[in-house]
């Protein structure tokens, strides 16, 4: 059965390719460090389950130190603007076809594994169908694009490395933050924050409790980087005992709008690195926080709207 193991192996081979290409790039003064970074990334994906917990800890420590010292950018794949423009003129709209094929294949794959009958479900792990489909789609579409647009055979790796170098150390941050969340959970950080919030803020009126819950979900999400970590704490601490228990609110409406208040917090926090910081690197923005800055007005206005919506929609008309 094709599952996570195979997808991780594919990612491992791609990252190993990045490592080899980095090492062989004389124009990059930090080629050894880049090769170490991508080599360890490859090792993690190929053999992470066999390294042991401490081994993985040492691996991520070395990766983070190497990356924090500063990675270089490879120069090999700097395809010139002239050639790209000529290729764009030659192929025109056909260039969009592979870009559209990726989502279609992911869609077909994930629907197929879930509803395609036992044969497909035996071939692809239904729980990992999206990631497996993405892996297959990237392989197929990369091969197709190389052929259709007459690109060098190695160009998926060299061009992939060019993009990876644009992202740089930021490529590691989302996974590290996910691991930090696990350490927070282990140490019971959520419970302590929840207790503090419920002790410090008065919730004598319904409106006050709604405000504490919505702002608390957003604020706690900003601190933890993820609304899923904030939800159990704030809901057990504020929503269920006070909003549902004392003021008779509808738990479905309260939880749904509370979660969406948390999502407003996700738009504001650098800890949600894959949404907020990685795109800034990917788009070559000078300001690391430029995407967050662009999201602030929408997030704050929507948080206010959520608070009002909960107060209006979640409670019986005549309490």
């Amino acid at each position: 059965m094709i599952g996570l193991t195979q997808v991780y192996a594919l990612a491992g081979f791609v990252f190993a390719g990045f490592a080899v290409l980095s090492l062989r790039d004389p124009s990059n003064p930090r080629r050894v460090r880049n090769a170490l970074f991508w080599g360890l990334f490859a090792l993690s994906f190929l053999a992470g389950d066999r390294l042991g917990d401490l081994g993985n800890g040492i691996l991520v420590l070395v990766m983070a130190l190497a990356a924090a010292l500063g990675l270089g950018r490879s120069g090999t794949a700097a395809s010139d603007a002239e050639a790209r423009a000529a290729s764009a003129r030659t192929y025109g709209l056909r260039l969009f076809l592979p870009a559209l094929m990726i989502p279609l294949m992911v869609l077909a794959g994930s629907l197929g594994a879930r509803h395609g009958g036992p044969a497909l479900a035996a071939l692809v792990d239904p729980k990992q169908a999206t990631l497996v489909s993405l892996g297959v789609a990237t392989l197929v579409v990369a091969a197709l694009s190389v052929r259709l647009f007459r690109q060098p055979v190695l160009s998926p790796l060299t061009e992939g490395l060019r993009l990876a170098d644009t992202i740089g150390w930021m490529a590691l941050l989302p996974q590290m933050l996910a691991a930090l969340g696990a350490v927070f959970a282990l140490a019971g950080v959520g419970g302590v924050v929840g207790e503090t919030v419920t002790r410090v803020f008065p919730m004598d009126t319904r409106l006050a409790a709604v405000v504490v819950y919505c702002l608390g979900m957003a604020g706690f999400t900003v601190l933890m980087g993820n609304a899923f970590a904030a939800f159990p704490v704030m809901t057990a601490g504020v929503a269920l005992p006070v909003l549902v228990g004392r003021f008779g609110g509808d738990p479905a409406a309260i939880c749904a709008i509370g979660m969406l208040s948390g999502f407003c917090g996700t738009l504001l926090t650098p800890l949600a690195a894959n949404f907020n910081l990685a795109p800034a690197a990917l788009l070559d923005l000078d300001d690391r926080f430029a995407v967050i800055r662009a999201q602030v007005p929408t997030a704050l206005a929507l948080l206010a709207v959520n608070t009002v919506l909960m107060n209006v929609l979640a409670f019986p008309a005549h309490p």
Partner: protein, 222 residues
């Protein structure tokens, strides 16, 4: 209370602008020590969680194919398309994309678009080209290009976040159903996803209004 030290470290470290990778390591160490673990135990716990969260970085698998398409001229083709379609303004492009992202996410199709696969190679170049056409220049100034790109990335996140919760089988809905069940309250996923609709509409109106305002800035008077 001591375990909150790690949270404070993260906030302070990010605010001061230290390298986030080191900030995360320091925060994990402080949190683990405060919880009574030894440094090696913290490292092992962090390593275990890092290994379990590899799927987060598996998303970078898409880089090679996007790279090849960019080398083949996808960004240039996206820009050229906007140059020819004069009726596609910045505001119309971004409003359509916001609606598309919210609607497809609401159907559970969260991974058919995204920062790496749509914003960088297609939408951001189109948005820049549309701004250039609107403001009557061949190419937007670098500072404006940065603003346009950041706005496009923000629009993708907002469309995703405030569409996906309308879908029944998304992670956050399942989390809420499971959590409420543990607390003795049974809700149908449908009841939760219905309550995501008012916020989704508000998100479209609020961000849509900002898109229109963004598109109206510094536009030459005819």
């Amino acid at each position: 209370m001591l375990v909150l030290l790690g949270v404070l470290l993260v906030v302070a470290g990010f605010a001061v602008g230290l390298n986030p990778l080191l900030v995360v390591l320091a925060s994990a160490l402080a949190t683990g020590l405060a919880a009574g673990l030894s440094p090696l135990e913290v490292l092992a716990a962090f390593g275990k969680a890092f290994n379990e969260n590899r799927y987060v970085s598996a998303a970078w698998l898409i880089l090679p194919v996007i790279g090849v398409l960019e080398r083949s001229g996808l960004q240039e083709a996206a820009r050229g398309l906007i140059g020819r379609l004069r009726s596609v303004t910045f505001a119309r492009l971004m409003l359509s994309y916001l609606l598309f992202r919210q609607a497809t996410s609401a159907l559970g199709l969260t991974s058919i678009a995204g920062q790496t696969q749509t914003i960088r190679p297609i939408i951001a170049p189109m948005a820049e080209a549309a701004r250039a056409v609107e403001t009557g220049v061949a190419e937007v100034a670098p500072a404006e290009a940065q603003r346009v790109r950041a706005f496009a990335a923000a629009t993708d996140n907002i469309g995703l976040f405030f569409g996906e919760d309308i879908f029944l089988a998304i992670g956050s809905i399942l989390l809420m159903v499971g959590f409420l069940e543990q607390n003795g309250i049974t809700v149908e996923p449908l009841h939760l996803s219905v309550w995501a609709i008012p916020t989704a509409i508000a998100a479209f109106l609020i961000h849509g209004a900002r898109i229109l305002m963004f598109g109206r800035r510094e536009r030459p008077r005819p």
